[in-house]
């Protein structure tokens, strides 16, 4: 039975929301264009209802899609491709936005919410602002419309309510069984099954959605020729947008740090860059808006930057969703064939905005007088320019695949590829922009709060510069002494270190001064300190991250030039750990203790011999009683939920003082994007230890050697897999596989001792059983020495015992470990930044409210 009703309701709601947004756009447009006040008001009221209908329809779409996913209606393509029965309830919500359609919906939803907030907080600007809002909603709704225009056969949008049959009509199953419904879905990408992925996308999309507000206000200002009044209501929103988008980006970085194995929080991937660039421009924008509020300059720049921010958001949407990035990005969305529609969306608003600004350009007031170098405007403007240049550099390099497409479109061949070493390439520029931002934020804030003139300029800055220089050298001294890093090997780092310290000192002293007066005004200083801390955190954690898993085993198979270059370091950055064999690595002694299984409702990991995982399910059967942390969770034979796709490698890190930390790096069988490796982190105040398993043998697929038969007596010594082995004893046992034997049964167990590496002894105990007249000789495996043994024969005449052995590669992992010094400065800096932003938003919103209530 197909559940067709819910999908039809959902699709109807999409069409309704689309139509209502068209009506609202038209109505609000009429309201702005009409001169008659009564008519204006009536158009406005009409369009407001249209927007409410639109918002209600959007909620209807979301509710329908959610209930399809939640109830596992796998006849729907969206539910089938993004969810599965095995998924815990708290991740069901992430399925919603895994696909492109769902993430569009999330975006539309935020716009609807923000639109309603604006309608109810600012009546004066309602008509023009909401006209822009409704127009944007029209475009976004068209992306999920899923309607084929008759006659010209043009498909508009991709609906999330497609049935499997409609989405994949070529599957042969439809001929055989037209009412086929998949048993289970493909599931949510396991990499996204993480709490950050529940909150990161909504935050990021709220950030994107809020960039529309300053844009809509700017357009409204141009439209109604109120060139400066829009700044006040737009400013708190611009700040709010900066906060939310910034936090969203950092959340993504933090998730990457914890989950992906590229060794950090930022990979200069186009998807990351595309969200970071609008944020940089947005930050530049509200600095210009603040300049205008206090000094009536930079109004034209504010217009340009507000427009640029919004257009960059559209451009990044185009990059990530049109498929133009193709192989340049790992995690862009799959192409839904929307590139044409996305391009029209981008060009429409680009033309409208640029056209309107050009049309009104002459009327926009500008300040012709020369800007003094000794004014706060000058220094803030320098900072904003640095931010824009930084954004320009990132977007210029990220757009390389776009240039290829354009050149190919003109009939030429272009084979540009992204820079081979993205981190080095981008850092080369961004380091200097970082220095600029730090230094200008310090100088700008000082000019803002102090009366600095040409005469006292030198006097004022002498102290902070000297103090920063001294502190810089103190930090360099301690960095070198603790062997964290070598600043003299990379002089540019010294400049950034100085910039960060200078920014903290100057902003700190200002913060101290304002706090004595009115602390509510100190948002700027606090935010800038946060930024400087983040820059220093990035400098240390990335610039001085250190590989500690240097291979000291001394093996070097070749003296080839490529091996000996760079002091042979290159081919030594990963260590190999044999199961249960301690290995020295830098300041630690490491021991790989085996593979672990993750139970869904257990505090600790499970050993593989404790459970047997049921194939194609997310449950396992307990093979023994499971007791953890002093509490019994399951009895033998119980079924328990597990995460079957995740494997963990238990690794002990013993430091010089004998303290042991156990880390569990993860290996994930990921059917959606190939298997993936996640790190385990040991978080310390100063330095994080970051480790992941670069390679592990697939234990299910390993090959055993040919069977070798041995006939030996007790205490005989022999060789097994290159180890010395002894048949220690053979005894009679009364139990087999945990069950007592019957009266006519018998069992004999042999103990074979194997001397492993480092003289560690292992025991293998195969059993020979006669039960109910049948002989059984179950194989016993030992992964530590790679031996499988069967007890095959007992010869009472000679007193010898028969064994069959197979050998294989011993269990091992190849591990990489990196130390990340002072990475916590980055995270703490982020928190400080958030506090500063919030203070600034509250202050600017109060200003707006005060003036609005006065009727200004």
């Amino acid at each position: 039975m197909f559940h067709t009703t819910i999908g039809n309701i959902g699709h109807l709601c999409i069409i309704l929301s689309f139509v209502a947004s068209v009506i609202a756009t038209f109505g609000y447009f009429k309201s702005v264009q009409t001169i008659d006040l009564v008519q204006q008001e009536s158009w406005k009221r009409f369009s407001r209802y249209a927007f409410y209908v639109h918002s209600a329809a959007v909620v209807g779409v979301i509710a329908s899609l959610f209930s399809i996913i939640y109830n596992h209606y796998f006849e729907y393509h969206y539910a089938w491709s993004h969810s599965s029965k095995a998924l815990p309830v708290y991740y069901i919500i992430s399925c919603f936005w895994e696909g492109q359609e769902g993430s569009f919906l999330l975006w539309i939803f935020w716009h609807a919410v923000l639109g309603i907030v604006l309608i109810n907080t600012n009546k004066h600007w309602e008509a023009p602002v909401m006209a822009i809002f409704a127009a944007v909603q029209t475009f976004l709704c068209s992306m999920i419309l899923g309607v084929v225009l008759p006659v010209i056969d043009l498909k508009i949008g991709s609906s999330p309510f497609l049935m499997m049959r409609e989405a994949m009509p070529d599957l042969p199953i439809w001929q055989m069984k037209p009412d086929f419904i998949a048993e289970d879905g493909r599931g949510l990408n396991p990499l996204l099954q993480n709490y950050w992925m529940v909150i990161h996308p909504p935050t990021l999309f709220l950030g994107f959605a809020t960039t529309l507000i300053p844009f809509a206000y700017a357009m409204a200002g141009l439209w109604r020729r109120e060139y400066s009044a829009w700044i006040r209501p737009a400013l708190p929103w611009a700040l709010f947008s900066g906060l939310v988008l910034g936090v969203g980006i950092i959340m993504g970085g933090y998730w990457a740090y914890e989950t992906l194995n590229f060794g950090g929080y930022w990979n200069w991937d186009p998807v990351e860059n595309a969200s970071f660039v609008p944020w940089l421009v947005l930050v530049a924008t509200y600095h210009c808006m603040i300049i205008y509020k206090t000094n009536q300059t930079a109004l034209r720049t504010s217009f340009i930057l507000v427009i640029a921010t919004f257009i960059l958001v559209l451009y990044s949407t185009f990059l990530n969703r049109s498929g133009v990035l193709g192989e340049a990005s790992v995690h862009s969305f799959t192409d839904l064939g929307l590139s044409g529609q996305l391009l029209i969306y981008l060009l429409f608003f680009l033309l409208i905005a640029v056209g309107l600004l050009a049309w009104r350009w002459k009327e926009v007031p500008s300040d012709e007088k020369e800007v003094s170098t000794y004014s706060r405007e000058f220094w803030i403007f320098m900072g904003a320019t640095t931010l824009c240049l930084s954004a320009f550099q990132i977007i210029a390099a990220t757009s390389l695949p776009v240039y290829n497409k354009i050149v190919e479109g003109l009939g030429f061949v272009s084979k540009l590829a992204p820079p081979a070493d993205a981190a080095t390439y981008y850092s080369k520029f961004q380091l200097w922009f970082g220095v600029g931002i730090a230094v200008f934020s310090g100088i700008g804030q000082s000019f803002w709060w102090k009366k600095i003139k040409q005469e006292n300029f030198a006097k004022y800055f002498l102290t902070p510069v000297l103090a920063s220089l001294i502190l810089t050298f103190v930090v360099i001294f301690f960095t070198t002494k603790s062997q964290t890093g070598d600043f003299f090997g990379s002089p540019t780092y010294i400049v950034l270190l100085f910039g960060g310290i200078f920014s903290i000192l100057t902003n700190g002293s200002i913060l101290f001064d304002i706090f004595k007066g009115n602390y509510k005004l100190s948002g700027g200083a606090v935010t800038h300190i946060g930024v400087a801390m983040m820059l220093l955190g990035i400098l240390f954690s990335s610039g001085y991250s250190k590989v500690v898993s240097i291979n000291t085993a001394g093996f070097n198979i070749s003296n080839d030039k490529s091996f000996t270059d760079n002091n042979g370091k290159e081919n030594k950055e990963n260590v190999m750990l044999w199961l249960n064999t301690p290995q020295k690595m830098d300041n630690y002694t490491l021991t790989y203790k085996g593979v672990r299984v993750e139970g869904r409702e257990l505090p600790d990991y499970l050993r593989p011999e404790q459970v047997e995982i049921i194939e194609n399910d997310f449950h396992a059967v307990a093979l023994q009683d499971i007791e953890q942390k002093g509490k019994k969770y399951y009895s033998k034979g119980d079924t328990l939920p597990v995460f079957p796709e995740n494997k963990y490698y238990e690794i002990d890190f013993r430091d010089k003082d004998g303290r042991v930390t156990t880390l569990y790096p993860r290996f994930q069988i990921n059917k959606k994007m190939g298997n993936s490796v996640s790190p385990a982190l040991k978080r310390n105040l100063g330095t994080d230890l970051y480790t992941y398993v670069a390679l592990a043998p697939d234990l299910d697929q390993r090959e055993w050697s040919k069977t070798e038969d041995y006939n030996i007596a007790v205490k005989d010594t022999f060789f097994l897999n290159d180890y010395v082995a002894v048949l220690d004893n053979v005894t009679r046992v009364n139990e087999f596989e945990g069950k007592p034997l019957g009266a006519n049964d018998a069992a004999v167990q042999a103990t074979i001792k194997v001397m492993g590496k480092e003289f560690i002894q292992y025991e293998i105990k195969p059993t020979f059983v006669i039960r109910n007249g049948m002989v059984a000789m179950p194989p016993i495996e030992n992964n530590e020495v790679g031996i499988r043994a069967k007890f095959t024969n007992i010869d009472p005449k000679t007193g010898k015992f028969g064994f069959a052995f197979n050998t294989t590669q011993r269990d091992y992992v190849v591990l990489k470990a990196i130390e990340k010094p002072l990475i916590n400065l980055l995270w703490i800096g982020t928190l400080v930044l958030m506090v500063g932003f919030t203070m600034a938003i509250i202050r600017r919103y109060r200003e707006f409210k005060l003036m609005r209530d006065k009727g200004l």
């Binding site: 070529d170 060794g263 800007v371 240049l389 070493d421 959606k672 190939g674």
Partner: protein, 146 residues
Amino acid sequence: MKKTHIFGLIVIAIAVAILVSTGTEASTYTDFADAEVKAKSGDVNQVHVVGKLKKSATGDIEDLIYNPAIDANHLEFTLTDNKGRSQKVVYNAPKPQDLGKAEQIVIIGSMEGQVFKCEKILLKCPSKYQDGNAEFKEVEKPAKQS
């Protein structure tokens, strides 16, 4: 000339410098023959080469050398580029876990003598469910650490 103009000129100069460096430092998609020519002419930029691994009838990769017991950080294999030239490739990092499953791979690096020294491997894995739609997965050899 006004100060604003000087300022504007400086900004434009930096922007142009950025564009030029983007153009010159971008890598290119190419083949082994071209990579060899580039390396011989002293071009130090790394290139992208797209190619296929030689596989036996049973699906094993031929000419693959990786023995973690001796050196976990050394992988050698032979790649055939789109023009049909086969080339020995050396990758100084552990073997990417899904190498055997990849239909097509992209290697990023440069020719050094008779071998291609590879810094990064991109795997194009056949996705189980998306009919014909391959997805790229990045395996990055971690940046050189000092």
